[in-house]
Symmetry: C2
Subunit: 409 residues, 2 copies
């Protein structure tokens, strides 16, 4: 049976995806979504020349000089008087520049003589500490293009243009199904002959991390009719994640059952470790991922194949986990032939990131994933890595923050 | 007036914080929280020796040999028979090893002769492809310590221990207040003499990015009584963020008003750019941050001071934005004396990250923040950076994913 390379499998998935439709959300719900419309400025900002500092609005040609203070202007005020030669206005950050003045002198560069006069010893050029009208945005110009990911900074720009509602790509509806007679549901009593269903919940959390609330369908037993009934429910969603049940074994009902339901299966095997077996198919309306029954393998396959797919559906241009370069703390032996993902912890030793494998890499040990900061990627043509070798690590959830400040102030 | 260094200000804030109390949440709501209790295994996992592969359970001392298949064992089955010399059992991944057998031969390493016999040409050691009882966890052992951040992998471990409810640190209640006569609220008509209130919403989104839903108090005008009424409401929360109104100007009511309300102000100035002015104080129950009125400055100060504070309250050991090393694409000139944060975009040129400043760095231009991938940190003793110099960049929200796969497969 042919094994696709990781990027080939990603390509097959990607070409099966059409971006989802759009919906309108309020500014309070928009963080993390992707804009489906462009946003234009609805005014000049600043709406007029404003002071960039607390100080005095002056005629630059007057300086240095002792000037008469004709007015106090604070943000939101309209200046009443024109600044003539020998005059200035006391002005606050963000306040409108009065007519006649062309520069601002910061208050710390002046000496107050009386309440009505100020002494300015230095000269400045026209425009000093003035923010010109339209510097931030010009009425009518496009300030945010469609396909912009809505970060906090973008929320600030949307508020600036008074965009209280906006069109964004909708999120996929995702269903999660576990399969296997050996699985014990969360609500069931502990049975020493069963294995708790970790996959449904680990996948739930991976989906939640993308801002999507998935539906857990439950556990389908190894029975074709029961499985078909669960799969039919799953095909009502945009994405169906099925874990377990796709191995080569004789007790495998998933493959025939899923094909009988009209799912066009695109591949059944990928050269990835851990990650055996991994399958993908689709109907006109649903993507179906067959993930390994092993929780670590299932989580790794989710990261490599499902994350980019879900993000593509939601309109993101950034689809892949961020990678950083690290130095490997110790040698790693393994067999060539598949792209391998090693769970590692990262620390910064002052010269950069150092990667350490998180204990046993047995795909049965979910704690290795729980403790991991990232996935070290070993190319399929590599026969092993030496200590101190430079490696690439994909950062996992929870690692966008670090324990140390990380910079020299 | 004394300017604290960034780390001094962070230290003052940090020592004013006590971690918040705890609450119980369900597994579906636990992602991203911090555990406030340790979690122990409630059984051995695997509960017995299991096969790690689809294949045949054998007596390793028999091999190589042609063996009689006495039973089919799939995951969840209890083996009925004991494997004797010359015998084997067909076994599935995750299924219990039958008595007598001590190793598994993968199906691809065998040749099926009849439905009842299989030929195995290779020999293996005892334990081959067997996952021993308790490999993943041992009944009673601590599998997650208190203070563990709940990532998707941790959710999987919690599901494995059937932990449907758990004790986590609660999230702070955060209130956001903007101040200034010049501000125009979201619901107000466009007034060319006003500035839209971007700060409330940019801060809202920064707080939301930490998993907290803040309360927007609105806009307090430059009037001591109105301001005092708003501040009093804000002091009912765990954290109050006030933007604007803390400059040295004569129209500044915030400082006297806030001190009259019993807030113990710890500092009013930090040597950070952009970020002028920045203040911090607290009561017994509320942390109060006075953030700059300028949206870019406000956002930068939030990242450097409020993010670590909120994360400390919630029990995270990782409090600071992740940093990466980058090569600077172009020279940057600036004045020494303050730690400077330059908004940059990052790209990977194949040898590592390259940082480019996002257009104008005027603190008036919020788009520079909306377009930024990170904040390049310039130490306060630096007089400028040359092109190609190695720099440190803090990653901002939205950058935990990237456009390219980023690894060689």
């Amino acid at each position: 049976m042919e094994h696709l390379r990781v990027s080939e499998a990603q390509h097959v998935i990607s070409t099966s995806i059409t971006r989802l439709g759009t919906e309108t959300v309020g500014l309070e719900q928009a963080l993390g979504r992707v804009l489906a419309e462009e946003i234009r400025a609805n005014r000049d900002l600043p709406p007029y020349d404003v002071s960039a500092m607390d100080g005095y609005a002056v005629r630059s040609s007057d300086l240095p000089a002792t000037l008469n203070i004709i007015e106090d202007i604070k943000a939101g005020d309209r200046p009443r008087l024109v600044v003539q030669t020998g005059q200035c206005a006391r002005i606050m950050t963000g306040a409108q520049m009065p007519q006649g003045a062309d520069a601002v002198i910061r208050v710390e560069d002046t000496q107050s003589l009386t309440d009505k006069t100020v002494q300015i010893a230095k000269a400045v050029r026209a425009g000093n500490d003035v923010r010109p009208q339209g510097e931030q945005m010009r009425d009518g110009e496009v300030v945010l293009t469609a396909d912009t990911e809505i970060t906090p900074g973008v929320i600030g720009v949307l508020a600036t243009t008074k965009t209280s509602q906006m069109c964004v790509y909708r999120r996929p509806r995702v269903a999660i199904l576990s399969t296997g007679n050996e699985l014990e549901a969360m609500g069931e009593a502990v049975d020493p002959y069963k294995i708790p269903d970790a996959n449904s919940y680990a996948l739930m959390a991976q989906v939640q991390a993308l801002g999507i609330t998935p539906v857990l369908l439950g556990i389908a037993r190894d029975d074709p009719d029961e499985l078909a009934a669960y799969l039919l429910r799953g095909l009502e969603y945009d994405v169906l994640l099925v874990s377990g049940g796709t191995s080569v074994g004789v007790h495998d009902y998933v493959r025939p059952t899923i094909e009988k339901l009209g799912v066009n299966m695109k591949f059944w095997r990928v050269a990835i470790r851990p990650g055996h077996p991994l399958a993908f198919g689709c109907t006109d309306t649903t993507l179906v991922f067959g993930l390994p029954g092993n929780p670590v393998s299932s989580m790794v396959c989710f990261e490599e194949f499902v994350v980019p797919a879900l993000r593509q559906m939601m309109g993101y241009s950034r689809r892949y986990r961020r990678t950083v370069t690290a130095r490997l703390a110790h040698a790693i032996k393994f067999r060539a032939g598949r792209t391998e993902f090693i769970r590692v912890q990262l620390r910064d030793d002052g010269t950069g990131y150092v990667a350490n494998a998180t204990g046993t890499q047995s795909s049965g040990v979910l704690l290795s994933m729980a403790k991991a900061d990232g996935l070290l990627v070993i190319p399929s043509d590599s026969n092993g890595l030496a200590a101190n070798e430079q490696v690439t690590v994909q950062l996992l959830d929870g690692t966008s923050y670090q324990s140390e400040l990380g910079f020299k102030e």
